[in-house]
Amino acid sequence: MATFFDVLISSADTFAQALLLTVEMALLSLIFASIIGVIFGLFTVSKNKVLKLISGIYIGFIRGTPLLVQTFIIYFGLAQVLRPTGFQWKAIGGPFTAGVVALSINAGAYMAEIIRGGIEAVDKGQMEAARSLGLSYGMAMRKIVLPQAFFTMLPAIINQFIISLKDTSLISIIGVRELTQNGKIVAANASTKVMAIWIVVALYYLIVCTILSRVAKIVERKVSHGR
């Protein structure tokens, strides 16, 4: 127990920085994932076969492959393929940016599925009524269907936020010094306290995720009340 508090206190500053990086990476990814999710979610429910196919391939590929492999494809693979154009991850923020890209693309696919589910859960009559008044498909989506879908999707979206936050730990593999990578570095320098260090790392994740799910509960209650 003493070692635990020792680790907690002595490494507090590096973990604080790492935590910041983790949260930053998660937040940025989730913002981009939401945008990607809305676009591909709309592709999936559209009548256009080409758009449907594109989103089908994207979602199928992401769901059928591990995030770690996706990260390697983006960080190492893209770097190699794009080298002739002068592209370097270093020039645009290094592994951190690559991590955000990988997480965004990964979570975006899951968000697309959540958004598709939310849209499909809205009664078809809502769209029909809007269209019968002369509203375009886009107007009806924006004003009627998406706002209604948002409420039903909220729990799933927050769940995805929590998953993505934990998935940031995989980005440690390309050298981003987020919580997990920081744990590795601290553990390498204090090999007798390995258990305590990893418990500390777990605790940081636990705290952030708990806060997130608490906020989620409050938001959920607020919006369901407003309906």
């Binding site: 029909e128 009524a129 019968s132 008044l133 002369g134 509203l135 375009s136 107007m139 009627i144």
Partner: protein, 251 residues
């Protein structure tokens, strides 16, 4: 009873050879119909006879496979027309009301006129309150649809359609999802509309209403129009055996 003297001879809705299939199933088989300005036409017939599908083809919520639909000079079946613009002129009332559940009653009514730039916000609000007054729901303006009874929802849905100042109104079994005690309040609103000379096509199972308000009744069965005529012709001097057997079951 609708005032016959006000009806002109202008044809508002003309349907020729309308055909609609769902996969292999042919639900509408060469339908023809003509509705003159100010006329009230009721479509009756057994469930599954294609009445609702026919109505939904009129504003192209369903795409017809063949045939021509002309409403107010617009060829609805022409793929090149601006369908959204055309629909502004055709109100539709649904069996399940389909009020926008994320909006207040007032916003339900003002949404389309404002978004489609038919009115300013203020004009739309004024018009909405006027319409709500007319259907007896003025005090519900700020309520959400979930706080209304079925009959109130349907009256509000009618007001929402009327806010666009349509020339034609389509009703798809407007009272079928209502508790019996609420049917009357909705039919009263529709009756008033008919008296004001609105051109209406109504799919209904309310035979009493059809008899009283309709100028003409179409009896449909199995994707065909079996018989059409005035309420008197249909109810008292039925010619077709299929119509007779249907009416015997429902009356």
């Amino acid at each position: 009873m609708a005032d016959k003297s006000r009806k002109s001879q202008e044809v508002k809705i003309k349907v020729e050879g309308l055909n609609k299939c769902f996969g292999e199933l042919e639900v509408l088989k060469s339908m023809d119909m003509e509705v003159k300005e100010g006329e009230v036409v009721c479509l009756i017939g057994p469930s599954g006879s294609g009445k609702s599908t026919f109505l939904r083809c009129l504003n192209r919520l369903e795409e017809a496979n063949a045939g021509k639909i002309c409403i107010d000079g617009q060829v609805m079946t022409d793929k090149k027309i601006n369908i959204n613009k055309a629909r502004e002129n055709i109100g539709m009332v649904f069996q399940h009301f389909n009020l926008f559940s994320n909006l207040t009653i007032l916003d339900n009514i003002t949404l389309a006129p404002v978004m489609l730039k038919k009115m300013t916000k203020e004009e739309a609000k004024e018009k909405a309150l006027e319409l709500l007054e007319r259907v007896g729901l003025r005090e519900k303006a700020d309520a959400y649809p979930s706080q209304l009874s079925g009959g109130q929802k349907q009256r509000c849905a009618i007001a929402r359609s009327l806010a666009m100042n349509p020339d034609v109104m389509l009703f798809d079994e407007p009272t079928s999802a209502l508790d019996p005690e609420m049917v009357g309040e909705v039919l009263d609103v529709m009756k008033e509309l008919a008296e004001e000379g609105m051109t209406m096509v109504i799919v209904t199972h309310e035979m009493g209403f059809a008899r009283e308000v309709a100028d003409r009744i179409y009896f449909m069965d199995d994707g065909y129009i079996v018989e059409q005529g005035t309420p008197d012709e249909i109810f008292n001097h039925t010619k077709e055996s299929r119509t007779i057997s249907f009416l015997n079951k429902v009356l």
